[in-house]
């Protein structure tokens, strides 16, 4: 009926210590893990630190740098708070440990614990022999008859007590009944007095403060906890696997489901769809769909949005995720036109360049669009074509008079990675041909090259360079070798609000019906070392002399094929489209045959 309260502060420090450790230990572990893995990513990025990344930073407007700082600082504020909490928490833990250590009541309770090993002065892993010999030695020392006569009565009593303890210790390790008692109750004499109580000081439970405590508990269990859980649950439920809001996904699905062939697929149409996203409504409840649409168009046309500049940056940054979500949904509806246009729209947003036959050129910095389009006599639409002219001529074509600016533009142009297809085939791991009902994947060998490089055919790369090692690991998981390639470096995108490295999206289309057969595969690992190679098409005249295949690194892209090979023998044709999300130009679009044979 009446409880013992923790007047001597014996138990509540342990309770508090446990609660703190439960929170702090996982948090600290996570923090350390994050710190280590972010440094990992940094070292990876160091490997492929590109000129484009540095130029991109140089060309980025101050406005955008300020915007990024605000968002990075938001993240770091959050991290700082977490760090502070961890430090404060561990300080409290240290204080509690010290408090427990210095608390006499606890110490007394601890010392009354019966430890036969320490009494006999032996280690916990001693054998019976060692126990017996230790006992014999100590009993000789402490036996009442063997005690020296000079001792005082007090000292004698202490020694006698000690002797009793030593005997008990020995018995608890050797004798049956005593040992059982010790194991069961922790003391050879059987169950000791135990007390049950509440691990809180009396004043918290008995006096007026107790009502506050009760209120605190009610608040925590009845309101705060359900609130947090329901908020977390609704947040999880409201996002799809691809990271877009469920309402946005359902809007896109609706548009695609009701899509009519008489509608023309244009970038404007997709931007209109994106502007209906729930994410924007949540971010800026006061603004309308038409505003969001206009902001995105402003960004693509590099126009200032006045008061809404910051809003524009956030909208543009979010549109990245939305377009990927739309792409995913479009591929599940097997619609190729919309899938392609989604990626093209992303390019337009990343480069802030509208879709036009001249986008490849207009994505470059410092280009005078008017002089370019009205000026040049030859119709230049590709970077490859641009690099057939001398630097001086290029400066006239692009309308760049400043020599430094021209060099920077040429650096950007020559560092944009173009993909050249070397080999493409359907492969079944461990087999030489594709057999019916097997599981093939599409294996592409590509060469990352610059628009400046002289063209050489795929036959110039010998088969040995394209061959892959056929060991057990590669048979078990043919996609593991992709991980050996470095991650993509930072792209040149000075108008995009966030730093990005982008990727290539690989779509697979069945030629028979012209529809997409599976969701896109994202390629984010390729080596760009070839871009540094010196094979300028304007200076190289003799390919035989200047070209050495060994200087070139062959990249591998492996696309999984989502179905088993058909049962019937024959040739099946697939169109593979590999589109870059970052730049206009470095795309691949070709047909590959699946020859199914017995």
């Amino acid at each position: 009926q009446s409880y013992d309260y923790d007047e001597g502060s014996e138990t509540w420090p342990f309770f508090l210590l446990t609660v703190l450790c439960v929170i702090l230990v996982p948090l600290t572990v996570k923090q350390i893990w994050d710190m280590l893995s972010s440094s990992d990513a940094e070292t990876e990025a160091q490997e492929q630190k590109s000129q484009l990344g540095m130029l991109s930073e140089a060309y980025t407007a101050d406005e955008i740098h300020a915007f990024r700082a605000k968002y990075v600082s938001k993240k770091s504020k959050w991290a700082a708070k977490r760090n502070l909490f961890i430090i404060a928490g561990w300080t409290l833990v240290a204080y509690l440990v010290q408090h427990i250590g210095s608390n006499d009541a606890i110490r007394d309770a601890a010392t009354t614990l019966f430890d036969p090993y320490s009494l006999l002065n032996i280690s916990t892993s001693s054998t019976e022999r060692e126990i017996r010999s230790a006992y014999r030695k100590l009993s000789i020392k402490f036996h009442p008859d063997k005690l020296p006569k000079e001792l005082t009565a007090e000292e004698r009593t202490t020694m006698e007590e000690q002797y009793v303890m030593i005997t008990k210790a020995y018995k608890s390790l050797t004798e049956e009944i005593t040992r059982e008692n010790y194991l069961r109750y922790g003391h050879p004499d059987g169950p000791q007095a135990t007390s049950h109580g509440i691990a809180l000081p009396k004043f918290l439970v008995d006096s007026s403060v107790s009502s506050l405590v009760v209120l605190g508990y009610v608040g925590l269990l009845g309101f705060i906890l359900p609130f947090l859980v329901s908020r977390w649950w609704s947040k999880t439920q409201s996002m799809t696997k691809k990271g877009i809001h469920v309402k946005s996904a359902s809007y896109f699905s609706d548009r695609l489901f009701n899509f009519k062939p008489s509608q023309v697929v244009t970038m404007d149409l997709l931007i209109n769809w994106i502007s209906h996203a729930q994410e924007f409504k949540v971010m800026y409840p006061a603004l309308h769909q038409e505003t969001f649409e206009k902001l995105i168009h402003d960004h693509i046309n590099r126009e200032n949005s006045g008061d809404l500049q910051n809003e524009k940056f956030r909208i543009v940054a979010k549109s990245h995720v939305l377009l990927f979500g739309l792409l995913d949904i479009a591929t599940t509806f097997r619609n190729l036109e919309i899938s392609n246009m989604a990626i093209d729209t992303l390019k337009a947003i990343v480069q802030a360049t509208p879709l036009s036959p001249y986008s490849q050129i207009l994505q470059l910095p410092n280009v005078d669009a008017e002089r370019f389009i009205n000026g040049s006599v030859d119709d230049i639409r590709t970077l490859g074509k641009l690099f057939t002219y001398e630097d001086k001529k290029i400066s006239k074509i692009l309308g760049i008079d400043d020599e430094d600016k021209l060099q920077e533009t040429l650096t950007v142009a020559s560092n944009i990675p173009f993909l050249k297809l070397i080999r493409a085939e359907f492969k079944v791991p461990g087999e030489t041909i594709v057999t019916p009902q097997s599981t093939p994947h599409i294996s592409l060998k590509v060469l990352v090259r610059s628009a400046k490089h002289k063209f050489f055919g795929p036959t110039k790369i010998p088969d040995e360079m394209c061959r892959e090692k056929q060991d057990f690991d590669s048979l078990r998981d043919p996609f593991a070798s992709i991980q050996d390639q470095p991650k993509l470096p930072q792209s040149f995108a000075p108008f995009f609000p966030a730093k990005r490295s982008g990727c290539w999206c690989a779509l697979v289309v069945l030629q028979k019906d012209g529809k997409v057969i599976q969701t896109p595969m994202l390629v984010d690992r390729l080596s760009f070392t070839n871009l540094k190679n010196d094979l300028d098409k304007r200076t190289v005249s003799d390919l035989e002399k200047d070209f050495n295949p060994e200087d070139w690194c062959i990249g591998t892209i492996k696309i999984p094929y989502s179905q088993p090979a058909p049962e019937e023998k024959g040739d099946y044709f697939f169109r593979v489209i590999v589109k870059s999300t970052e730049y206009f130009g470095p795309d691949l679009d070709f047909t590959v045959t699946m020859s199914v044979r017995e």
């Binding site: 009701n258 062939p261 119709d379 639409r381 590709t382 970077l383 490859g384 074509k385 641009l386 690099f387 057939t388 628009a451 063209f455 030629q511 028979k512 012209g514 098409k537 040739d571 044709f573 169109r575 679009d589 070709f590 047909t591 045959t593």
Partner: protein
């Protein structure tokens, strides 16, 4: 959903774009059916419409023989317009489609000869969308796209054509030629 017994039309006050289109279709069909004066109408295409369209079309063919190509194009355009306007919505779709496809094929060739490549391409696109997958369509599409300097698109079309008809000599020739032009396009 509300139905007005006087006008015989359906209405939904807050219809979304797609539902609205469906309603419009139903209402049009209803109105056409009501307007039909012949009590014994069937899905068979009306003979008088067929005759008119055929006459216009044959005029066009004759003009082609006389090398009066712009006039021929005009006649065939008229024939197509007539088929779109005169045919009732309940008449057999297969017949209407075949008629349109046949006339469009002729229009495509006329357009290509006269250098109207955009027109030809859009007609070809429609033929494609409505299920005509023969190599002829791919050949003409590739040709039209190449003439409009859309080499990347042309490559897509010719490759698709070849995957459906790998031995077609004309397609192979076009593929080679387009690859060459594409290489030049890319410097």
């Amino acid at each position: 959903l509300s139905y007005d017994p006087n006008s015989k039309l359906l209405q939904l006050s807050e219809a979304s774009e797609d539902v609205d289109m469906n309603l419009k279709q139903i209402n049009k069909l209803t109105q056409d059916l009501i307007a039909e004066s012949n009590p014994n109408f069937t899905p068979q295409p009306r003979d008088d419409s067929t005759a008119m369209i055929k006459k216009l079309f044959e005029t066009g063919l004759k003009q082609v023989q006389q090398q009066k190509l712009p006039e021929a194009l005009k006649s065939i355009n008229l024939a197509i317009e007539m088929s779109q306007r005169k045919r009732a919505t309940w008449e057999a779709f297969a017949v209407q489609l075949q008629e349109l496809q046949f006339m469009l094929k002729n229009r495509v060739d006329l357009s290509l000869i006269q250098g109207k490549f955009m027109d030809a391409l859009e007609d070809l696109e429609l033929l494609h969308n409505t299920g005509l997958n023969s190599s002829d369509v791919f050949i003409r599409k590739t040709d039209g796209l190449m003439k409009l300097k859309q080499y990347e698109q042309a490559q897509v079309e010719v490759e698709r054509g070849l995957s459906l008809d790998p031995s077609n000599a004309k397609l192979k020739a076009l593929h080679l030629e387009n690859s060459r032009r594409l290489a030049d396009y890319n410097g």
